[in-house]
Symmetry: D2
Subunit: 123 residues, 4 copies
C-alpha cells in the first residue's frame, strides 16, 4: 500500500480503518477508482483487523475474498474499514467495506468484502 499514500486512520482490537487520499493517477479513463485498488484497501483493512486479535509472532495471509461492487467509486478520498466476524486459532473471518468520502465529510459505500484470513507463524 506504500505506493498509494494509504494511512492507518484507526486501529482497535478487531477493527481497522484505512484512508487513501484522492490521487488522479488511481483513476481509470472515466475518473473511477480501480476495483482492484478498492479491493486492496479493503483487503488490507481486513487483514490488519484480523492481525489485531492474533498472538505476537503471527502473520496474516488472505486465503479468499469476495467483493461486491455496489457503486462506482468516483472522486473523493477512499476509506476502507475491516472488522473481525469470528477469530479462530487458524482461520479468521472478516468483513469490510469501502467508502468514498466527499469534501463535506459525507460517505457513500461503494464496495463490500467478505474475507477469509489465515494465521501463519513468522519465520
Amino acid at each position: 500500500m506504500k505506493l498509494v499514500g494509504a494511512a492507518l486512520a484507526r486501529v482497535e482490537p478487531g477493527e481497522v480503518e484505512i484512508e487513501v487520499p484522492f490521487r488522479r493517477e488511481l483513476t481509470q479513463q472515466q475518473g473511477l477508482v480501480h476495483a482492484g485498488f478498492t479491493t486492496t484497501a479493503m483487503d488490507t483493512a481486513c487483514g490488519y483487523a484480523a492481525l489485531t486479535l492474533m498472538p505476537p509472532g503471527s502473520e496474516v495471509v488472505s486465503v479468499n475474498f469476495n467483493v461486491s461492487l455496489l457503486a462506482p467509486a468516483v472522486g473523493g478520498d477512499l476509506v476502507a474499514r475491516g472488522h473481525v466476524v469470528r477469530s479462530g486459532r487458524t482461520i479468521t473471518f472478516t468483513e469490510g467495506a469501502a467508502y468514498v468520502r466527499a469534501a463535506d465529510g459525507s460517505e457513500m459505500k461503494v464496495a463490500t468484502m467478505s474475507a477469509t484470513m489465515m494465521r501463519v507463524e513468522l519465520a
Copy 2:
C-alpha cells in the same frame, strides 16, 4: 490498467488473456505482487471475455467477484486469463485465473476468480 503496462495478449470469443510484464514497483516489501493487482488483472480479463460475447454498444460492469489466493505471486511476468461460463442477456458468469510465468515459460497458477458481470448499454 494503463498504469501498469498490461497488454491484451489474446482475444477470442468468450476468452481473453492479459500479460503484465514484471515491474519492481508492483511488489510489496517481500517481493510479492499485490493481491489487489492480481485481482485487477483477472477482473479485466474476465470483463473483456464477457464483452466479446455482447452485442455492439454494450459496456460491461463487474457486479461481484470472488478470489482465491492459491500461492504467493513472486517474480516473473503476470498472466491473467478469463473466460465466459455462461452468457445471458443481462448477466454473464465468468471465471479467471492468474499465473506467474518464469523465464523458461513455465507457469504457476497463483489465484482464481469467479466474477459476475452485467451488461449495460452505452450512453
Copy 3:
C-alpha cells in the same frame, strides 16, 4: 422451504427474518445442521429482503452467493436474517446471517452470506 417447517418471523422493508424449528432429520450424522440447509435459509431471507424493495410484479432470482461457515450449527432452532445493502433497478446486493438459538433465547452466529439478487418481471 415448505418441507422443513420454516416460517417468516419478521418482514420489514429491506429486512426479513426466518425461523426454522429444530428437527432431527435436518441434522447429519454428528448432529450438525447441513451447510446446504443453513444456506437455503439465508438465501431465502436475503431473497425476500430484496423483494420487499422491488415494485409489484417483480420476482427475485439468486445470481450468486458467498457463504462463510463460522461455526458448526448444532442443536437449537435456526434463525436466518437477510437485509438489503443496496437496491438497484436490476441488481440488489444483500447480506445475511444464520444463528442457532438456544432454549434460553441466546443466539450464536454460525454462518454469513453475501448474495447478489436479480429482479425479473413476473410473466
Copy 4:
C-alpha cells in the same frame, strides 16, 4: 446427504462425482431443485475431493464457498463434480459444478462452486 439418496458415482485422487436421482420432493413450487440442495451436492463433492488428497486421520471442514447459479435446475437427475485446485497442509482450494442430466444422458451445467476446505485432525 443420506436423506436425499445421493451416491458417490466416482472417486479419484482429487476428483469426486456425486449423483442424486430426481425426486419430486426436492423441488420447489415451480419444479426447480432448491439452490440449497444443489449447493449441498457441490459442497459434498468438493469436500470429498479435498479429502482424497489428505493424510489418513484427516477430516475436512468447509470454511467458505461461493456459488454462481447459472440456470434453473429443472427435472432430471442432479450430478455434482468437485476437484482440487490446490492442496496445502491446512487449506485446500476446490472447485465444483452441478449439472442436470436428461434422460438421453446430456448434461446442462446449472451452478458452479469455489470452496475453501480446511483439514482438521480426527479426534
